[in-house]
């Protein structure tokens, strides 16, 4: 039996009190860890998906909705814009690249996006199997889509109208999987990509108009169920991702586009910052609450050690008589606080990651945002260090009492 062992023995001796203190700290640390994981992973994800895209051009509506739908692929598109916009923008010397997106259909909840290979290149995507689309009706699956649907090369599937996967099926125009992308950790992983023309085919652009008429009533709420088919059957897309060639474009282009009646331009950086600042208020409030929990548990550890002190002073005197140096006893009590804090901190980290894993599994939206329970943030090390420091601090005052204990007095008055 050593003094370190004695610390454990004291904690076991008041097991209920120890368990409650650990639980309190676990809750605080877990809340903190969950917040850190959410905000770090979402922030990083937001940043990664929007990197390199200077401007998004789409139909008039909410700029935030345009960014969410076209970059993060989470909201519904704002509407359609004429394909001719692509050429207009490409002819502008200040524009570096324009990537068209044609959205509106999905397969089992995964969006089918008509685009160009430049979209894959932009996110550094590479085919893990097969190749990129070439002919109409050929589709390439993102890594996550392939994993979750279990679809492989050669697999045929039909898209359904709308984003939720419960819309009308386009059974007459099935897709065929010709490639599967390697994981990129970006929005690409959750998409099914094909050519813009394929999406037109599905919706019968420049084909028999009967298909168009059948869809007409669905477009009463275009924002909720946007498709690439325009009211007059002309070629349209839902959004354009624009990269600038010259900084001059940032000054000129948004204004130029926003003056057009049909179009709006939104800067991902601005909208993402706005979104994060909105979410940030909630995150800050929750962080304050978590900090309060951790401080409460620190106070609780202090109270537990301090109230046990009456009995402990006698034990301290006895330990001194048994030959323990004051510094060693000081360390022994400090170790009790540290052990409590360590147990709470480690359990808290485990519970935090567990909750994130459960949440990512239970809510598809969180999984779609790329929330992972197995990524560790540097901030977590700080949380653990903070909890340990608090445990040591809570034990400091009770432990320091050992230096003031008069052995002879204490022994005489011990009962």
């Amino acid at each position: 039996m050593t003094l370190a062992g004695l610390s454990l023995a004291y904690l076991r001796d008041r097991a209920l009190n120890t368990a409650l203190n650990v639980l309190l700290l676990t809750l605080g640390v877990a809340t903190m860890v969950i917040l850190v994981l959410f905000s770090a992973q979402l922030g990083e994800r937001f940043e990664r998906d929007a990197r390199g895209i200077d401007l998004v051009v789409g139909a008039k509506g909410s700029p935030l909705q345009l960014i969410l739908s076209s970059i993060y692929q989470v909201d519904v598109p704002t509407g359609n814009i004429p394909l001719s916009t692509v050429e207009t923008l490409r002819s502008d010397p200040t524009v570096g690249a324009v990537i068209p997106l044609a959205q509106g259909d999905s397969f089992r909840g995964f969006r089918i996006v008509g685009t160009e290979p430049a979209y894959v290149e932009h996110y550094g995507g590479e085919t893990a199997q097969g190749r990129l689309w070439q002919a109409p009706s050929e589709a390439v699956m993102g890594a996550e889509v392939a994993r979750r649907t279990g679809a492989g090369l050669g697999q045929a599937f039909v898209g359904s109208h709308g984003m939720a996967g419960d819309g009308q099926a386009h059974e007459e125009t099935p897709f065929r999987v010709v490639g599967v992308l390697a994981p990129t950790g970006t929005v690409l992983d959750r998409l099914i990509l094909t050519s813009v023309e394929s999406v037109w085919d599905v919706h019968g652009i420049a084909q028999a108009s009967g298909h168009d008429e059948a869809h007409e009533h669905e477009h009463a709420a275009p924002a909720a169920n946007a498709s690439i088919r325009g009211d007059h059957g002309e070629a349209e897309v839902t959004a354009l991702l624009v990269k600038y060639r010259s900084p001059l474009a940032a000054v000129r282009l948004p204004n130029f586009i926003n003056r057009q009646t049909e179009l709006q331009a939104a800067a991902p950086a601005v909208e993402t910052a706005r979104l994060l600042s909105l979410v940030g208020v909630g995150v800050d409030a929750a962080r304050g609450f978590a900090l309060l929990l951790i401080l409460t548990s620190g106070l609780s550890i202090f109270v537990a050690l301090y109230t046990a002190l009456r009995q402990r002073e006698a034990d301290m005197a006895l330990l001194r008589v048994m030959g323990a140096r004051p510094v060693a006893i000081f360390g022994q009590i400090l170790l009790e606080g540290l052990l409590l804090a360590a147990a709470g901190a480690l359990l808290g980290v485990a519970v935090g990651h567990g909750v994130v894993a459960l949440a990512a599994g239970a809510f598809d939206q969180l999984g779609d945002l790329g929330l992972s329970a197995f990524a560790f943030e540097p901030a977590e090390a700080w949380i653990v260090a903070g909890a340990l420091a608090m445990g040591a601090l809570a034990a400091l005052i009770p432990a320091a009492r050992v230096f003031g204990v008069d052995i002879a007095d204490t022994l005489q008055h011990a009962s």
Binding site: M1, T2, L6, R12, D13, L318, M322, G323, A408, S415
Partner: protein, 217 residues
């Protein structure tokens, strides 16, 4: 000489609580320190073990000047030579009897000798109570455990303060026998401070303490 005391006086709160002529105790000379309450027994024990510094006079333990050493040196001398058994405070509350002995051994000698711990537990007749917590023990059991705990440090001197006053006649006699026998078998010298007259005559030597005359003043 194990204990050598030069004309010792101690004052607390302006009055003299101890005033002793010189005396010495040799190795193996088990001694009973007998006196009524207020005669300064506990004060003398605290001074002998270095827990108190006397107002005047000197104490040599195993040839070293306990009363003139620094606090750390006193702790060191006490750890190496003296085992203490108290009337009330006997064991560390959170540990079992066996763990108490093991900790005492570790603190005093810096090593673990499980066989020695078991031998001492058996020596005081607590083999069946080795895993009990202090609060589960009877007075007598706790006192015997405390004796075993003190022996763990292999001290040259065992100082016991009122080891029998909480016990009935039969137990008090048994405790005195146990103290003598276990001290003898471990090569330690006993110094027992008590007001318990039942112990009179059981020890080779008895020092009678009386309240200092200065009290009258």
């Amino acid at each position: 000489m194990l204990i050598q005391v030069e004309a010792l006086t101690h004052r607390m709160g302006g009055r003299t609580v101890l005033d002793l002529p010189a005396f010495a105790i040799d190795r193996g000379e088990h001694t009973l320190l007998l006196g009524p309450s207020g005669s300064g027994k506990t004060t003398l024990i605290n001074i002998l073990t270095g827990l108190r510094t006397p107002s005047a006079g000197e104490v040599l333990i195993d040839g070293r000047p306990m009363s003139r050493l620094s606090a750390a040196e006193r702790d060191d001398l006490r750890r190496r030579t003296i085992g203490l058994v108290f009337q009330t405070l006997r064991l560390v509350s959170a540990l079992t009897v066996r763990q108490n002995l093991s900790l005492a051994q570790h603190l005093a000698l810096g090593r673990d000798d499980a066989a020695e711990v078991e031998r001492l537990i058996a020596r005081v007749g607590l083999a069946h109570r080795a895993d009990a917590r202090p609060r589960q023990l009877s007075q007598g059991e706790a006192q015997r455990a405390a004796i075993a705990r003190a022996l763990c440090a292999r001290p040259a001197l065992i100082v016991a303060d009122e080891p029998t006053s909480a016990l009935d006649d039969a137990n008090a006699a048994a405790m005195a026998d146990l103290l003598l026998a276990s001290a003898e078998s471990n090569g330690a010298t006993l110094l027992i401070a008590t007001h318990d007259n039942r112990l009179r005559g059981r020890f080779p030597r008895t020092l009678e303490l009386t309240p200092p005359k200065a009290l009258a003043a």
